[in-house]
Amino acid sequence: MLSDGVIIASALAYMGVLFGIAYYGDQRADAGRSIIANPYIYTLSLAIYCTAWTFYGSVGLAAKSGVDFLPVYLGPTLMAVLFWLVLRRIVRITKVHRITSIADFVASRYGKSSLLAGMVTVIVVLGILPYISIQLKAIATSFSLLRQYPVVAMPAFSTHQPFWADNTFFVALVLIAFAILFGTRHIDITERHEGMVAAVAFESLFKLVAFVLVGVVVTFVMFGGPSDLFQQAAARPELAALMRFGVVPGGYGGWLSLMFLAMMAFLFLPRQFQVLVVENVDETHIRKAIWLFPLYLFVINLFVLPIALGGRLIFAEGNVDADTFVLTLPMIERMPVLALLAFLGGLSAATSMILFETVTLSTMICNDVVMPILLRANPRWLAGRSDLSGLLLGIRRAGIAALILLGYLYFRFIGESYALVASGLISFAAAAQFAPPILIGLYWQRANRRGALIGLSGGFLVWAYTLLLPAMARSGWIGVGFVEQGLFGLELLRPYALFGLQTPDPYMHSVFWSMLVNVGGLVFGSMLSRPNAIEQVQGSQFVNVFERERHDGDALLWRGVVDTVQLHDLLARFIGPQRASEAFDRYLDGKDDYPLQADPQLIHYTERLLAGAIGAASARVMISSIMMGEVLSIEEVMTILDESTQVIEYSRRLEQQSRKLEAASAELREANDRLQELDRLKDEFISTVTHELRTPLTSIRAFSEILLANPDMEVEQRGRFLSIIVKESERLTRLINQVLDMAKIDSGRIDWRVEEIDLRALIQDAINSTSQLFHDKAATLREELGDRPVTIVGDHDRLTQVIINLLSNAVKFCPEQTGEVIIRLEPAADCWRIEVRDNGPGIAQDQHKLIFEKFHQVSNSLAGKPKGTGLGLPISQKIVEHHNGRIWVESDIGQGAAFIMELPM
C-alpha cells in the first residue's frame, strides 16, 4: 500500500507545495504586498527551531529519561521573555546597519573585521554539520522504516555499503537541488527571503498538526485516553519513573546548563538569527511572539510524554528505537495515512531546517570567507568584471551543495554513533559561543575586536576539544585514548573532566569551560588593548542604537576622493544597474545631476547598500579599492574623531553647566523668597507683640494719670480704677511670659523635663488652680477622670499649663451663672484623650484652625468679654505636639466648644 513510489511521490508533492508557497511569497514581496508581514507568520517561522530533533528526538529522549526533554524548550521560552530587551535591540541594529547574517553582525560590531566574520563562519560551519547530519539521518531512517510498511523493523545501516546504494545520499542530493532552487533562485540577492519564510511558516504549521494528530491517535485510539495511558504506564515501575522529575541526570545543574544552551542556540544558531532578526519585517511583531511562540512550544510538547509512554508499552521488547515511535506507532496500528503524515511531518521539520540553515550559511561563506579572500587575492580581476551578481550566486550555490554533502559525510562517518539529541547539543554548544561577543557587545561599549577574537577562538577551541573531538573519537575516527587518559596522558587534560572538573554530563562541562574562556578572553582582551577608530564608532553605534538612530560618525572615516560614477558602477556590479540607479536617485533626491565627486555621506550610503549584498567587511574592502588618493590613516581618523568627540563633550559640558547655573539661581531665588517671607513674618510678629503689649499699658497709664490728677475721687470709683490697673498689669505680665515661652518653644531653647507623670493627678492640680475662676463665675465643673492613676511620660509643668489654659478658656467663655464645664479623661486607641467641654457661645467652623494661630482671637462683639493674650492655644498646641499628641476643637456657633487633646500612651 505504501510503495516506494507513493512515498517518494508524496514527499516530492509536499516539497512542490512548499516551493509553490515560496514562489507565491516572493511574487507578493516583489509586488510590495508581503504575506509574511504579520506577527503570526513571524511566530510560526520561529518554530524552525523545532527540527526533526523535536519531531523524533524528543520522544526518544522522553522514552529514556522522562521529562529530561523539556529544558531544550524551556530555554527558548525563557528567551522569549527577554525578547523585548535583547532581540529588539539586535533587530534595530541589524536594520540600521543592513546586516545580513550573524557573522556580519559580529564583524560589524567589532569594527567590520573580516577576520572575525570569517571566524564566525568557520565556527558555524563546523558547529552546524552535526545538526545537518541528524536531519539527514532522520529523513533517511524514517523513509527506510516507512517503505517496509506494514512491517516494523529497524533498518540496518551499514557504513560499508557504497554511498550510491545509500538512500541518505540521494536525500541529500534532492535537498541540495531544493535549497538552491529556494534560496538562490533570486538574482536579486539583497532581498530578504520572504518566500522561504512563508514556506517555513507553513512547515511549522504542518509538523505541528502531524505531531499532534499522532499524539491524539496514540492517546485516544490506541489507548483509552490519557488516564488509561498513564495508569498503564504507572503500573510498570521503569515507566513510572519517567513521569517523575527525579530521573533527570545531572540534577538541576544539568537542567540549567541545558536551558542555557537552548536559550543561546535559539538566538544564535544561524537560521534562528536569520528568521528572528534578518527576516523580521516589523519590530512590533516581537511583542506578539513573546507569548505566542512559547504557546507553540507548549502545544508541540504536549504529546511527547504520551507518545513515549505509549511506545514503551507497545514495543515492550525494546527492539524498536524510541526515536522512531512517532512513525512506528501509526504503522503498528495499521494506519498508513497517518504514518505517511507523520513521515511528511518529520520531513517537513528536517527540510525546513536544512534549507534555511544552508542558505543562510552559504551566504555567510560567500560574504565572509570567499569574497574577502577573492578581494584580497585579486581585486583587479574582480574590478574588471561588470556584473558580479552571477559570481555571488555561483559561490552561494556551491556553498549549499558543499554544506549538505559535508553533513552527509558527518552522518556517514560520525553521526551513526550518536543519538539525535547528542548531535544537536554539540551544535547548540557551538552556537552558544556567539553569545558573549554579541550580548556583551550590545551593552559594553569597550568590548573590542581583539577581545572578541581572543574570546571567540578560545571558546571555540575549548568546545572542539571537549565536545567535537570526543564525539569523533567515539566514532573511531581518532584514538579514544585522549578522552580517557587526557592529552599527552595528562589527567588534567581529559576532555570530559578538564582540570579535574567533574560534571554529570559533558555538555555542562563544556559550557562551563568554553564560556569561562570566551567571556574571560573578551573582557581581558578588550581591557588590555585600545580599540581603533572604526571599532569605537561601531561599538558606540551598537550600544547606543536606541539613543541615536542616525549617526554620521561612519562617514568621517571616508575622506578619499571618488567619482560618483565609479561609485555607482561599483554598486551596480553587485546589486544590478537598475537598482543602483534607483538607490542613487533616492539619495540625491530632487537634484538633476550627480555631483562629480561623491561626498563622504554618499560613500557611506553606498557602503551600506553594498553591505546588504556582500557583508560589511567586504563592502569596506570594495569601497576602499576604488578610492583615489588617500584612505584615512588610523591616526588621522583618531584625530578627527577625537576632535569631534571633544566638541561634543565640550558642548555637553557647557549645556550641563548652564543647566546647573539655572538650577542654582532658581534655588537662590527660592531661598530669597523664603527669607523675605520669614522677615515679613518676624516683622508682623514684632508688630503684633508690640500692639498687644501697648494695649494693657495704655489702660494702666491712663488710669494711673487719672488717679494722679484726681486725688479727691470717690473711694468706690478709685477702687474700680485701681483694680483695672492691677488686672491689666497681670495681663501684661502674663503676656510677657507667654511671648517668652513661645519664643523659647519656637527656637527650640526650651528645657523639657521628661519624667513619668500621673495624668489624672496632673489634671486634678490644674482644676485646683482654676477653682477660683469657676467660683467667681458661679460655673460648675464636672470631672470624669476615672478612678485610677494614668501614667505617661512627659513634662509635668508644661502639660499642667495646657490643662489650665483649656480650663480657663472654657470658664472664660461660659455664660454667667449657668456656666457648665466638663473635663474628661479616657483611653482611646493607643492614646489618652482629654476633653474640656463648655456651654459657651461656640466657635464657627472656619475659626477652628485659626484659633491655634498666634494672636488670633475669635472676634466677638459682645462687650465686656475678657480678652486673652492670643498665645494660650498656640503654646498649648506646641506643647501637645512636642509630646507627639494632637489637639483640636469640635464646636459650632451656639453649641459650646469641646477642646480635645490626645497624648500617646
Partner: protein, 153 residues
C-alpha cells in the same frame, strides 16, 4: 505736624481741675459731642472718663460697625478712633466717614498701639486729622481734642 504742635504747646496745657468740670447740666446740649471707638473696654472707660471730665458729651462704640451706626444716628463733632478692631477697623471707618460729604466736619483722631511711622502716614492719608500713639498721655489727648475742636469752630 500735629506731633510738633503738641510738643510746642506742652507748657501751657495746665488746666486747673475746676475748669475741667464745665460739663454742668445746663451746658450739656451746647457741649461738643465726642465718639470714643475702641474694642478694649478699659481704654474706652478711661477715655470716656477723660472726655466727660473735660466737659464733652460722650458716646462709645466697641467696634467699627457699631461706630458707623452711631455716627449715622447722630454725627459727633469728633471721634477718637482705634485702628485695630474687629469687624471694621479704624481705617475703614475713617474712609467711610470721609466718603460721606455730610460728615466732612467730623474731626477724627486715630489711636493706635502700632507705633510704626507707616501706620501714622496711612491714617493721615485716609483723612484723619490727628494721630495719637498708645499708650498716650491723658493730658495730651484732652489737649489735642480741644485744639482740633477750637480750630474747627
Amino acid at each position: 505736624m500735629a506731633a510738633r504742635r503738641a510738643i510746642t504747646r506742652k507748657n501751657n496745657h495746665n488746666i486747673p481741675p475746676e475748669r475741667k468740670r464745665l460739663a454742668t447740666e445746663e451746658n450739656v446740649d451746647m457741649a461738643n459731642k465726642i465718639l470714643v471707638v475702641d474694642d478694649e473696654p478699659n481704654i474706652v472707660l478711661s477715655l470716656e472718663f477723660l472726655m466727660k471730665q473735660a466737659g464733652f458729651q460722650v458716646r462709645t462704640a466697641s467696634d467699627g460697625e457699631v461706630a458707623l451706626t452711631a455716627i449715622a444716628a447722630e454725627p459727633p463733632d469728633l471721634m477718637l478712633l482705634d485702628v485695630m478692631m474687629p469687624r471694621k477697623n479704624g481705617y475703614e471707618v475713617c474712609q467711610a466717614v470721609r466718603a460721606n460729604p455730610d460728615w466732612k466736619d467730623i474731626r477724627i483722631i486715630m489711636l493706635t498701639a502700632k507705633g510704626r511711622e507707616v501706620e501714622r502716614e496711612k491714617g493721615l492719608a485716609l483723612g484723619a486729622d490727628d494721630y495719637i500713639t498708645k499708650p498716650f498721655s491723658t493730658q495730651e489727648v484732652v489737649e489735642r481734642v480741644r485744639e482740633l475742636l477750637a480750630g474747627a469752630g
